[in-house]
């Protein structure tokens, strides 16, 4: 089983990228399963099941951070995909937690960013970008060549080792390199681990202590001064 985790802010084009990539994988004879992970609403599973006739399902993370939820459910999801005879599992995740990484060791980590989002976006998405293998830049049809090149360089400034691949996800232009990335990803065998280090071991806010002010908390705390740009490693 090959595992692909596709993360990115809302409406950047994750589903569009998955759609075109899955189509080409199916065309090449692979069997693809799809899981959509979101906090409280998603219909991508129904859309892709209908369109591509592949096994799909959705998971609502609810009160859990979607990336933590991924850790909880991914093992089961792989078994489920295997039972359906699939050899590629693609997970689309909301990527709302900008502190943890949504990716797993040994799987392919894809972050989807839109070229129209403004030049500071790469600085804002933390480990979702810096721990990805590939950064897919969508909506290149909506900007000039010069802006596309400057956006690429803003990504490489933050994440020099991430492979940047520009696409028009509406028309599926530039998808072939992503299909190759998937095919070059090794099969996952044995236990899997979340990539990178989670930012906090125990977070007092997560367990329900809601009082504002770092003085009321323990573990990893942070004051207004002493800001650190969190890169995930």
């Amino acid at each position: 089983m090959r595992v692909v985790i596709c993360a990115g802010p809302a409406t950047t084009g994750k589903t569009s990228v998955v759609r075109h990539t899955a189509k080409k994988l199916l065309h090449a004879g692979h069997k693809v399963a799809f899981v959509k992970l979101d906090v409280q609403y998603a219909d991508e599973d129904e859309i892709l099941a209908e369109e591509l006739k592949i096994p799909t399902r959705k998971v609502y993370s609810g009160e859990l951070c979607p990336d933590h939820c991924n850790v909880m459910v991914l093992g089961d999801a792989m078994q489920w995909a295997e039972q359906h005879g699939c050899d590629v599992l693609i997970v689309e995740t909301a990527g709302l937690c900008l502190r943890c990484s949504p990716y797993v060791e040994g799987g392919l980590g894809i972050v989807v960013l839109e070229a129209t989002s403004g030049m500071n976006l790469p600085l804002k998405v933390g480990p979702m970008l810096s721990l990805a293998d590939v950064a897919v830049v969508t909506k290149i049809d909506r900007i000039s060549q010069a802006e596309r090149e400057v956006f690429r360089s803003r990504i490489q400034d933050v994440a020099p080792n991430v492979r940047v691949r520009e696409v028009n996800a509406l028309h599926g232009i530039g998808i072939d390199p992503l299909v190759n990335e998937v095919l070059e990803t090794p099969e996952v065998n044995g236990p899997m681990f979340l990539r990178g280090n989670p930012p906090v071991g125990t977070c007092t806010i997560c367990v329900g202590k809601k009082e504002i002010g770092w003085q009321s908390h323990f573990g990893v705390v942070r004051a207004l001064e002493n800001q650190v740009f969190y890169r995930g490693e």
Partner: protein, 260 residues
């Protein structure tokens, strides 16, 4: 070194094939792409810029020196031999013009930021605009004409590539003839999409499009070259009128007599 760019025919919107098998563009040639609105001109120019390999909706292939383009053209802008001036009349990049040009100079030279290129680019752009662009303007604040002028300046000064693709220079109120002259000076292959007869007649041949497909490839005939001088006179006269109106002057009845 780029010697030629070739386009292998694909199909139009409804699947009908392009009316050519292969078009070869050689160093020094100037080509225009003409056709009604929505006929696929931008799509064709994008196919060239993306080094299409049958992976775009048109199914066309683009060859550089008779071979598929090396992948580094795509992934390293410093190696990319093509500059594309898109049809966009707004920037979405929320950077100041200064920072944008500096970053792009670094990207395209593969070296460090070049304040000299930035200054040259802004000076070039301001030759084409009415109201000048300030380096401290945000890109998103620029007007349609200023945006186009900056794109042209960026392509000429910063990209400085052997191949330039230009999508409709005319519809942004900038000095288009000047822009085309300046651009052509150093180029080896120059391809532009245009609705403007003056600009179309500058080319060695023109690609005609309809319904997403290429319907004809026409060389500029001797007769057409003959007309070109007259077209230029008409166009200059119209430009003079345009400039007068812009400056708030009144026009008089005899204005167009000498060209008509």
């Amino acid at each position: 070194m780029i010697r030629s760019i070739s386009i292998l025919g694909g199909q139009g919107r409804r699947g009908a094939p392009d009316a050519f098998e292969r078009i070869d563009l050689h160093m020094g040639q100037v080509v225009s792409i003409v056709g009604p609105t929505g006929s696929g001109k931008t799509t064709l120019i994008n196919d060239i810029e993306l080094f299409a390999g049958g992976d775009t909706p048109s199914g066309r292939h683009v060859l550089i020196n008779d071979e598929p383009a090396p992948v580094e053209y795509r992934y390293n802008p410093a190696k990319n031999p093509i500059a594309l001036i898109t049809q966009h009349t707004t920037f979405l990049s929320d950077l100041p013009v200064r920072q944008f040009l500096l970053t792009h100079s670094k990207v395209r030279t593969g070296g460090s930021e070049s304040p000299q290129m930035m200054m040259d680019a802004i000076e070039f752009a301001n030759k084409l605009t009415g109201e000048p662009i300030d380096l401290d303007n945000r890109m998103t604040e620029l007007s349609g004409g200023q945006t186009r002028a900056l794109l042209i300046a960026d392509a000429t000064v910063i990209c400085s590539t052997p191949v330039v693709l230009l999508d409709e220079v005319e519809n942004a109120g900038i000095h288009r003839t000047k822009a085309v002259q300046l651009l052509r000076e150093f180029r080896k292959i120059f391809i532009f999409v245009t609705h403007d007869p003056r600009i179309a007649l500058l080319s060695d041949f023109r690609i005609v499009m309809q319904g997403g497909r290429v319907t004809q490839v026409l060389s500029t005939s001797e007769e057409e070259r003959g007309v070109s001088a007259h077209v230029n006179r008409l166009d200059d006269a119209l430009s003079a009128l345009r400039e007068k109106l812009r400056m708030g002057h009144r026009l008089n009845a005899g204005e167009l007599q000498e060209v008509a």
